[in-house]
Amino acid sequence: MQSSDTSPARESRISGWLACVATAALLSSAPMAHAADPSAQAIAPPPAPGPATGLADSAGLRATVFGAAPQSLAPMPNKVPLAEINISLPWARPVPDVFWFDRKLRVWFSAQAGPAPLAIVIAGTGSDGNTAKLSTLRGALFGAGYHVLTMPSPTFPGFIVSASSTGVAGDLMQDGRDLYAAMREIVAHLPRRVRITEIDVLGYSLGGANAAMVKAIDASQGKLKIHRVVMIDPPVSLFASIGRLDKLFAINVGSGDDAIERLYRSLYAELANLYRASDRVQLDEDFILGAAATVLKSDAEFSAAIALSFRIDLVNVFFAGDLYAGTGVVVDPKHPPKVGDSLEETQRRLRNMPFADYFTKVFAPFYLKQRPNATAASLIADSRLDIIGEALRNDPDYYAQSNSDDVILNAQELTWLEDTLGSRIAVYDHGGHLGNIGERQQVADMLQMLAGNWVGTAH
């Protein structure tokens, strides 16, 4: 391993900014007309109460983008073995041509030599099963003696294609069922020499809510006998959190392609000027790491970076959902794109579409058809952790970590978490959203929670 090139800490520090550059990916011109969809008129988008930045102050926004400072990281083991698992799931739907590479679900596994508990960790929105944050958690958990299995988010395109039974991601219960079924398949096929004493599930961001759902489902099905769950910075109302990110995008980036083009142009010029002033001969990761701190200055710029990185993920979810549901927003259901076809126009249109459009034009139409008794309001209600509120309140094996400056929460939601989990939640005064993953305190508390030794916020 080229240690200096792939350090998780460094990756996490630059990931926000990279996402910002990757927006580039998002870019192009032609203003796009939002065609009014007659079927969508009846469905209102979910409300997103509170400020667009949630509870975050300036420090919270910065922590969200840069992640934990290297100096504050918990001690880690010297070496963590890693294996890659690719699995075909029997319930997978036919794979569309443009997703030929997502045929199998890919997860990562680190095995202890002897018998040990298995910690399954679920990534956040849109992320694959081997992110820098997962790598950090893997190190901490493996060092504490766990087998570690890291999984993508059910909103990751690779999961949607290989493991979703609907292709339309974002429903907490449906995603939880798909995740649970995938976990069962994987655990059942692990090599015999891997001896598992018990199973615990963790997740960060949306993955935290997914982890709690998985345990709730297991409580009735009992196939995995999941013991404890730790939710790291979970949302309380998924759609409200995402709605606020829509607002954040509208405020700090703008709407329409002109806004994205403006942002791209100013980023390009800033980066080019920094590069010209440097003595480098290659635009590499090191340079970008150095540039990140210089290019992003104001709260608005950090907000834009956060909103953009979310939008990049949303584009994929939207595309896959539209394709599978046959809702025809950007993909013609009768003529789906093939490998050689350009997707630039499709991407350009999608990057201008907020989550509200996904909800009203793809998600709600699809699930309302599937569930005759559902309404738009009930779908929104089902995106809240309340649906397992009883279990969260009464089952002593659910734990959570949260930050009082989290971007994705508002004050009521944090209060709800604290009221519901009581002494089983740790709330830190810094970190923004996920910006303290890997810090000494976060790791120590997480391990105590998993071991059932957590005694509350005594520190």
Partner: protein
């Protein structure tokens, strides 16, 4: 590398290079300190007037940024080649490079330095063709130091003598001569490129072959060396096809690759000691990038 494991048809499990989080964290702390120091130095320098302001062309503005669209007339072919490369990488190239990463790090870094040192020959030639004689001399100096003190190029002794590498190639020479990047081009086995970078690659290979340093390029060992060079290069690229899972990966890679190269071109022009300040970046605002 295909470790013992599950034999089930539906699930495969194979080992990949282990992670070393303790060392990674230590490296992160070190590099954070280095960046803090560099930032402090830069802030200090920014305070006093630069001596050579006259030579630095005016900063780019947002209007100088190339269009968000990329010139890609061969898109259909490129997309199929991209898929071919992704499959080749999964089936063979990435596996070889993962296996190679089990070789102890000091040996791998020796191999990497060895090939880097050989490429200095090409850099000397191309900096000369670009009439960047200072840089040409720097590459020549590095070549001499690393071949002798660095024991045949196994150690980058020159970098420790404050003479870090600044590789260049025929593509940069073509850029200096005024050639635009041209259409985006995905080259079989090699990956994303542009027409100019593709020609540059052929030129670099031809130069190496023509000069044939120490008979390494035409002798009996050349195939093995080329293979090792390819594996070494792959092992040093932190990229995996479709790890984003995104159907838009082709668009994203194309966008980032072409803009990275355009910024590098702009940087090269700005570094010219005989600052021809008129050759600053053409205003490509209304033209697709790369054209």
């Amino acid at each position: 590398m295909a470790a013992a494991g599950c034999a089930s048809q539906s699930m495969s499990i194979h080992n990949v290079p282990a992670e070393h989080p303790a060392a990674d964290n230590a490296a992160a702390v070190e590099s954070a300190a280095a960046f803090a120091a560099a930032a402090a130095t830069a802030a200090g320098e920014a305070g006093r007037p630069a001596q050579d302001t006259a030579e630095i062309p005016p900063p780019l503005t947002a209007a100088d940024a190339p269009s968000m669209r990329t010139y890609d007339p061969w898109e259909r072919m490129n997309r199929f080649t991209y898929r071919f490369n992704a499959r080749f990488d999964e089936a063979l190239y990435l596996r070889l490079s993962n296996a190679y990463r089990r070789v102890p790090a000091p040996i791998r870094s020796g191999v990497h330095n060895f090939f880097g040192n050989l490429s200095e020959v090409d850099s000397v030639v191309n900096y000369t063709l670009q009439w960047r004689l200072k840089l040409s001399a720097r590459s020549l100096g590095r070549l001499l130091i690393n071949t002798t003190i660095g024991i045949g190029g196994l150690f980058d002794a020159a970098a420790r003598l404050k003479l870090p590498g600044a590789p260049t190639g025929f593509s940069s020479t073509l850029a200096t001569w005024g050639m635009h990047p041209g259409p985006f081009l995905v080259i079989p086995f090699l990956g994303p490129s542009t027409l100019r970078d593709g020609i540059g690659f052929l030129g670099d290979y031809a130069a190496s072959y023509g000069i044939d340093v120490a008979k390494l390029y035409r002798g009996n060992v050349s195939w093995g060396l080329d293979g090792l060079n390819a594996v070494d290069q792959r092992a040093n690229i932190n990229f995996r096809y479709y790890s984003t899972g995104s159907p838009f990966e082709y668009e994203n890679v194309r966008f980032l690759y072409v803009r990275k190269r355009l910024i590098e071109d702009a940087g090269l022009r700005a570094k010219d000691s005989n600052a021809r300040s008129t050759t600053q970046m053409e205003n490509a605002a209304h033209e697709p990038a790369g054209k």
